[in-house]
Amino acid sequence: MTNYLLLFWIFFKTGLFTIGGGMAMIPIIQQELVSRGYMTVAESIDMVAISQMTPGPFAVNAATFAGYNLAGVPGAVVATLGIMLPSILICLIVARFFFRFQESPIVRSTLSGIKPVVLALILSGLISVFRSAVLPELSLTAIDFPVLLIAIVLSLLLLKTKISPALLILLSGAFGAVFLRS
């Protein structure tokens, strides 16, 4: 794919509508790229894992990775610039004119409407990665039990302990290399 303008636009939109952290961005990227056939859901899971394991901002990692897979280094440059540009423009405007804007009742009430939608985005992301990782054949008779087990154990560890997500991903990868070769 070498339609750089489209690639830039997809990531610009994604950056613009990412509110409250990188995980909320994943369903948007999935919708834009998977529906156009540029990426499979399984590849998007790899993208999330790799972006979490590497240092730096998660969203930038994901954009660079997706852009590179679609169109090499130029694709990575275009996707990364696209996802950053909304941040840059909006921050420079806000920093210049109204640093205290988040105390405005209009901004607060608008955000009160957006935040539940962001939570719904995370849930839809969860449903989509769960289907692809645990039910790859979309049938209850073909549950990937080892993967389900990893998901349950790691969910508990992430919620109950302070072990870093990057370390847990690394360990589950090592587990997979040893036990889940197929």
């Binding site: 990692n61 409407g113 539940p116």
Partner: protein, 199 residues
């Protein structure tokens, strides 16, 4: 309010280079998103060098999370701006993402060559369980912060229903719909009636 808006200090080329090197270092060692990055930014630019104040850092934390866009990029742009205006903001933004960019390009090269290898497939299969867990923990941690009342719960249910029933409907419209309804409900309706006595 105006003391927040101080005039950026005089900016030398050496200082710009320093900002780049420090943010590059921060970008190479930060795991775990924008707020983790802010902790290191605060240590480097406020505690160690006193280029921005502690008040600036807490303003930056609040604004960076509220604005659309990538929180970590918001943090570095806002910090850079406070130190030295637009040039410093751009340099800080570039410095903080460049390590990611380089590392991910290298990994993506290997990924496209190795993604069919049985060991790599095994690793990725194990890791896919971890990604499910990441969504579970994000969902849990966000749930209390993002849904604060019954209206919010209603917004959440409608939004997830729309996403599941109409998978091809762009989620961007759902976000915009939430923004508009949030403004109408919380600003125009509840705030007025709350002002009348029952908050």
């Amino acid at each position: 309010m105006d003391n927040n808006h101080h005039i950026p200090q005089k900016l030398s080329l050496k200082k710009l280079l320093n900002i780049f090197l420090i943010t590059f270092k921060i970008g190479s060692v930060t795991f775990g998103g924008g707020m983790a990055m802010l902790t290191i930014i605060s240590a480097e630019f406020s505690e160690k060098r006193d280029w921005v104040s502690g008040d600036d850092i807490s303003d930056i934390a609040a604004v960076a999370q509220t604005l659309p866009g990538i929180i970590a990029v918001n943090v570095s742009i806002l910090t850079g701006y406070r130190i030295g205006g637009v040039p410093a903001a751009l340099v800080a933004g570039l410095g903080s993402v460049l390590p990611s960019f380089i590392v991910l390009c290298i990994i993506a090269t290997f990924y496209s060559v190795l993604s069919d290898n049985v060991y790599v497939r095994g690793i990725l299969r194990g890791v896919s369980g971890a990604v499910v867990a990441l969504f579970v923990s994000t969902l849990y941690k966000m749930s209390r912060k993002n849904v604060k009342d019954l209206w919010g719960l209603g917004f959440f249910i409608i939004a997830i229903a729309l996403m599941l029933i109409f998978p091809s409907l762009s989620v961007i419209y759902i976000i915009l719909g939430g923004a508009l309804l949030g403004f109408v409900l919380y600003y125009l309706i509840l705030r007025r009636s709350g002002g009348a006595g029952n908050d």
